[in-house]
């Protein structure tokens, strides 16, 4: 009956992990990531007829990123305390102190979470999702040269802050 849905599920659902990982790293909140991914999957399904083949993963991640941007804009308007702040115990003198106490994984996670969004997203797309510069440029809607310089800055910043881990 609804073969369009089946076709969409067969193509899109294998990329749920990549979509969720990106949403989680962009929003830094499990609750928001759930909503972003569900929203993105529905938007993608509605726009599926306009998808003319090509790389469905990159297409989906572009939608995930757009959904995150609209959620992030909404959050700024509401100006509520974000979950990431609650994750850090109030007794820690600084995020760096908290990082040192945690295990290597937690430490890397915290340091990545502290990167500015425009640096964090290129780093995640490159190092975790393993996309090419061209794909990252398309997803983020920035020139490829900007992707390269942001990636270099992201790595330099992370290396500086992760000195004790490396």
């Amino acid at each position: 009956m609804d073969d369009r849905r089946q076709r969409f599920e067969a193509l899109a659902l294998p990329h749920m992990d990549a979509a969720y990982n990106l949403a989680r790293w962009l929003s830094r909140s499990p609750v928001e990531a759930d909503d972003i991914v569900q929203d993105a999957m529905l938007r993608a399904f509605r726009a599926f007829d306009g998808f003319r083949g090509g790389d469905i993963k990159a297409w989906l991640l572009t939608i995930v990123r757009n959904c995150w941007l609209s959620t992030a804009a909404g959050n700024r308007r509401r100006a509520h305390a974000s979950l990431e702040d609650q994750e850090l115990p109030a007794t820690e003198a600084s995020p760096e102190d908290a990082a040192i106490r945690a295990g290597a994984q937690r430490r890397m996670d915290l340091l990545i979470a502290q990167l500015a969004p425009e640096f964090r997203e290129v780093l995640i797309l490159r190092e975790m999702v393993d996309l090419s510069y061209r794909e990252i440029a398309e997803i983020t809607g920035t020139p490829i040269g900007t992707v390269m310089s942001r990636l270099a800055r992201a790595r330099t910043q992370l290396r500086e802050s992760a000195k004790d881990v490396l």
Binding site: M1, Q6, R7, D17, D34, V37, F45, M148, L166
Partner: protein, 241 residues
């Protein structure tokens, strides 16, 4: 970082350059201390980033998304009925066949084709290597981080098969780690991917590419190359030891 070539070096390390650009970046890297430092630090950082969390989608979210998609698709049922009636259900049957095709495990014969295709595709695009290194301490963690499995990356340089790097590739829909070896002018790809049952093809030659398949533990292996058959067999023996 003040060297003008830092971004080019980074592109080279990320496997984003093609033949001539890649050669130029490699030549520069051999002479520039600053870029060498950058390369070493980038490798350390890549290793450290393997410690960072990859968040898989929670099961309940998959269920929630499926349910939402079903709800979203439901109103169109009436339209689909009329459309299906008008077209004799041909389009639905085609889509159903396509969906079935996507879920079928690859047959043994198509697997040999897939491996030869992947190898040929990499050769013609000049993108056989994403991480260039003869050091298995570099290649192995890179593959583990990017392919999600840790393949053997033993260097057989003494036996004439030099480890030159690695990349990730896709074999019939499964992510595979590829260790790349050079033998004279010939290149050999050793694919490793997670075994999910299903028969592996016998060793065969596909369009001039020798292929050999074997399984070890929960991993499938496939070697593919256009080198002469005796050398190819020798490599397979070494790799299987």
């Amino acid at each position: 970082m003040s060297c003008d070539h830092i971004l080019a070096t980074q592109s080279y390390l990320d496997g984003q350059l093609n033949g001539a650009e890649s050669d130029a970046a490699e030549r520069h890297l051999q002479t520039c201390f600053e870029c060498q430092q950058f390369a070493a630090q980038a490798a350390d950082l890549s290793d450290a980033l393997r410690n960072a969390t990859r968040h898989p989608a929670p099961e309940f979210l998959r269920a929630r998304v499926r349910a939402a998609l079903r709800r979203e698709a439901a109103p169109s049922k009436v339209r689909a009925f009329w459309w299906g009636a008008a077209s004799g259900g041909g389009a639905s049957a085609l889509a159903a066949a396509l969906a079935l095709f996507l879920f079928l495990p690859p047959s043994a014969a198509s697997l040999a084709e897939a491996v030869a295709d992947a190898h040929a595709r990499a050769l013609t695009s000049g993108k056989t290597i994403m991480v260039a290194s003869s050091n298995h301490h570099v290649v192995k963690p890179w593959l583990a981080a990017h392919a999600g499995l840790s393949p053997p990356t033993t260097d057989f340089a003494a036996q004439g098969f030099v480890l030159t790097g690695g990349r990730t590739d896709t074999i019939a829909g499964d992510k595979a780690a590829v260790s790349v070896y050079a033998h004279g002018n010939h290149e050999l790809d050793l694919f490793t991917w997670v075994a999910k049952g299903g028969a592996l093809p016998r060793s065969t030659t596909v369009r001039g590419f020798h292929t050999a398949f074997w399984k070890e533990g929960d991993l499938n292996f496939a070697a593919v190359s256009d080198m002469d058959e005796a050398a190819f067999q020798k490599f397979v023996e070494l790799a299987r030891e």
